[in-house]
């Protein structure tokens, strides 16, 4: 009978692994680094999409703060408007707007995967679902902008 060393001519000469036995094999499990999403374009885009949800929350809270300021009377609202016009707040809100657009675009792009529509027996093409979402986005934005102009005018 051949010795183990003859069978394993190519095996490394390091000491045997004490945690491995024939009937209790030691399997290797890779640890997941915290920054697993760095260095892979689509994982990074995914994390950015999830993180920009915080900016959606922020813009909701901003709207609530604005309503509270209106409720407290003209002076309070003036002060709030003044705060909005400060350069650093403008810079922050430009960043928030870019984040919101990124979130919206990446979110809408996923819609055709989740939404499978049928007209009769024929499936609506995914591209049509996508275009429909964008048209709805533009229509709602135009409605809101139109209402604002109308109220201001």
């Amino acid at each position: 009978m051949k010795g183990a060393s003859e069978w394993d001519r190519h095996a490394p000469s390091s000491a045997p692994n004490p945690r491995h036995t024939r009937y209790h094999p030691r399997w290797h499990r890779e640890r997941i680094p915290i920054f697993w999403w760095v260095g892979h374009r689509r994982y990074t885009l995914f994390i950015l999409r999830e993180l920009t949800a915080v900016l959606v929350l922020y813009s909701g809270l901003l709207l609530l703060a604005q309503l509270v300021a209106i409720g407290r009377g003209p002076e309070s609202y003036q002060a709030f408007q003044g705060w909005l016009a400060e350069p650093w707040v403008l810079a922050l809100h430009t960043f928030v707007l870019l984040g919101l657009i990124f979130h919206t675009v990446t979110w809408l792009n996923l819609a055709p995967k989740a939404l499978v529509l049928r007209v009769g027996k024929i499936r609506v093409p995914p591209r049509a679902v996508l275009v429909g979402h964008y048209l709805a986005w533009i229509a709602v934005s135009a409605l809101v902008a139109g209402a604002l102009v109308w109220v201001a005018g």
């Binding site: 490394p12 692994n17 290797h28 499990r29 890779e30 999403w37 892979h40 995967k113 939404l115």
Partner: protein, 246 residues
């Protein structure tokens, strides 16, 4: 073609506590797949290298490995497409490594069984009553999901499966949908117990990488999101119309 350096992850549990890389110079020929290069190593350079393969034509789903960081079927990946070397070959992520490039897939097999990937009927026809007929539209509903070859590239591409090992995972959910969407099947309610749990569809955060790496265009990410939509619609209906059968 110039010789190509393969940098292969080796793990020999008897001798090593941690995996190490081993480099091989492979005189690749034109149009060789990564699997051909590995077979050359196994046959000519180092017989101790362990990995799985069988059909070498993209059907059996056993030669999935991580090549240059991306989960691929090595039998369907040209060496030329992953140059310049060294071409890094590692086992699929997310599975415990038994040896070298061989991962343990017991977890997947167990989860696959839990979603009952077979036709479930309340009442079975007797054979002399004939087949269960389907229209081409009814076949088209699930055909895409039936193309899965259980290669588990989608699991390797899914960070959620690594972070939350209880997640049922992309392929098993896509296969559950393959039967849910089959007009002959009546088992949707039975599968719902597994799919609508947190470890089912709701663990998925829609990264979408599973569908990108799928060699058969099964689109597991799409299957999971579709199930989320239909599960939500069922839930809303059950709230609005209590007592109605889902």
């Amino acid at each position: 073609m110039e010789p190509v350096t393969l940098k292969v992850l080796r793990y020999r549990p008897e001798e090593e506590v941690e995996p190490t890389y081993q480099e091989y110079e492979v005189p690749c020929q034109d149009n060789w797949m990564v699997l051909d290069a590995l077979n050359h190593v196994k046959e000519r350079l180092d017989g101790t290298l362990s990995y799985r393969w069988a059909c070498r034509m993209g059907v059996c789903g056993s030669c999935g490995m991580t090549v240059n960081g991306t989960p691929v079927l090595t039998c369907a990946t040209y060496v030329e497409d992953v140059l310049p070397g060294p071409v890094v070959v590692e086992p699929l992520r997310g599975f415990p490594v038994i040896r070298d490039l061989v991962g343990d897939i017991t977890d997947f097999m167990e989860k696959l069984g839990r979603v009952k990937p077979w036709l479930i009927r309340d009442e079975k026809k007797s054979p002399d009553e004939g087949e269960y007929l389907q229209t081409p539209e009814e076949v088209a509903d699930y055909k895409q999901y039936s193309m899965c070859i259980n290669c588990m590239l989608c699991y390797a591409a899914c960070p959620i499966y690594e972070l939350e090992p209880d997640f049922i995972g992309p392929a098993a959910i896509a296969l559950a949908q393959r039967y849910n969407l089959d007009s002959r099947d009546q088992g949707e309610e039975e599968r719902m117990d597994v799919l609508s749990q947190h470890d089912g569809v709701w663990a998925c955060t829609f990264i979408g990488e599973c569908s990108v790496v799928c060699p058969k265009n099964v689109d597991p990410a799409g299957a999971i999101q579709r199930y989320k939509v239909s599960a939500t619609v069922d839930w809303v209906r059950s709230v609005l119309m209590p007592g109605r059968k889902p």
